[in-house]
Symmetry: C2
Subunit: 247 residues, 2 copies
């Protein structure tokens, strides 16, 4: 999940899509490379109780299997984050092959998972670049609000630069419209705009603004586990189906 | 405005508070040090038309007065950003007195403005650190949602470290609760939590979730200029009054 704009639903999508795929019996690893560790706490893991995190794995990949936490839900594991990871944003700048650290970590896990979902921080710095270099494809969550369109141009340029330089396999899996509120003309305008400019890339599923999605993290579970009948959970199940049909 | 959590209303507060203060006849400069340049476009400035931005000033402070853009509203000027600024996040790491670049820029302007409002990106990297080192005080916008509380601990630690090392004058001006929706229990819980833990620091004014606030940036103006009668505009005017009484 990548978008330097903050608060667009990267973590909500990472957590809920991971849960959806695990319910479809796919072996899923959710990798949290945001120092805020929201995806980690969104699945009920308290980073204060962790001895190690993805931060340690970046410098010592052989630790990875020990650091991974199995959640209580089948087929769903997490490579957790902690706030210490913020240090890596600056430390990595001066390291050898600085963009490849996460890719080395995930190569070790190669056959253990069918899907690896990476939640990135709201920036295009070293951690996000590591996430993009380690990925086959990228999902771009976009909020149905004005500033959402502003950052897209820069993000697409960055993705192209990474595809040309560091990771030629990288493709856009899709643009996901999030927090859609049908009562707002603004939201409808953004949807029309994105569907017009990126007809082949935008997911058909649109995630509505849903109170249950915002509440679920405080219970440490995905919205699908928290309240499957909610519009938010149903939308993320539709997204899961759409992604599996794509794949 | 500082908070590494994304989408909490940093830019909305920076733009609308700047507009409020300028309407109170205070000479205001809004400094945008977010490479997304949302505060710049939120006041109607197209960064694509700019020859220079705050990025150039960081390395050549004597350019600053030329780079500042006067808006069409009296007493309100902007030191604009562009996406190129993202490069500074990494470039500054290796520079001499890397945290002091923005402070040097603003020292040149010292007597020209009564208020200088700085909009930071959603991270605690070099650009935000430059913003904090250049400031007398910091406003922390917090969304009335679950993840909002998670990041506060780390942010307060960072502010303390900056106060002890790089800028001993730095104080917290206040915590501002944003996007409050009275229909959500979750929002009421967050408000209670923050008011209980930080009784002397949280602003009395709470900014409600208001469609007009989200629409105003697409017209390139503050919500106060866009629709002064809206609940969002009224809340930001209340915040302006509360801040002026504080000062
Ligand atoms: N569909 C939705 N409906 C309602 N609230 C949502 C929805 N999706 C996300 N949220 C809430 O909006 C806020 C921002 O979402 P989230 O934290 O997932 O975004 P993000 O892009 O990961 O943010 P950051 O840039 O800080 O990493 C959170 O409080 C989240 O619970
Ligand atoms: N009170 C409000 N009511 C409704 N929408 C709001 C409100 N405040 C901000 N918004 C909208 O919510 C989104 C996030 O706000 P904003 O961009 O100001 O946050 P930010 O913290 O600056 O984000 P970033 O972390 O990306 O810099 C924007 O689309 C904005 O227009
Ligand atoms: Mg997130
Ligand atoms: Mg902003």
């Amino acid at each position: 999940m990548c978008n330097q704009k903050g608060g667009v639903g990267k973590t909500a999508t990472a957590v809920n899509l991971s849960a959806g795929l695990s319910l479809a019996e796919k072996k899923v690893l959710l990798v949290d490379i945001d120092p805020q560790a929201n995806a980690t706490s969104g699945l009920g893991i308290d980073y204060r109780c962790l001895k190690m995190s993805v931060y340690d794995c970046l410098y010592e990949p052989s630790l990875t299997k020990q650091v991974i936490v199995k959640t209580k839900w089948p087929h769903l594991s997490v490579l957790p984050s902690t706030p210490d990871l913020a240090g890596a944003e600056i430390e990595l700048v001066e390291k050898e092959s600085r963009e490849m650290h996460l890719r080395k970590v995930l190569t070790i896990l190669h056959d253990d998972y069918e899907f690896i979902i990476i939640d990135c921080p709201p920036s295009l710095g070293m951690l996000t670049v590591n996430g993009l270099v380690a990925s086959n494809s990228v999902i771009i969550p976009i909020q149905c609000e004005y500033y959402a369109l502003e950052g897209l141009e820069k993000l697409l340029k960055t993705l192209k630069a990474i595809k040309n330089g560091l990771n030629e396999n990288l493709i856009i899996e899709g643009i996901l419209l999030t927090m859609f509120d049908a009562r707002l003309n603004l939201a409808k305008d953004v949807v029309d705009d994105i569907q017009k400019h990126f007809p082949n890339v935008v997911f058909r599923t649109i995630i509505p603004r849903s109170v249950r999605v915002a509440e679920a993290p405080s219970y440490g579970e995905s919205v699908i586990h928290y309240q499957i009948s909610s519009t938010g959970a149903q939308a993320y199940l539709n997204l899961t189906r759409e992604l599996l049909n794509h794949a």
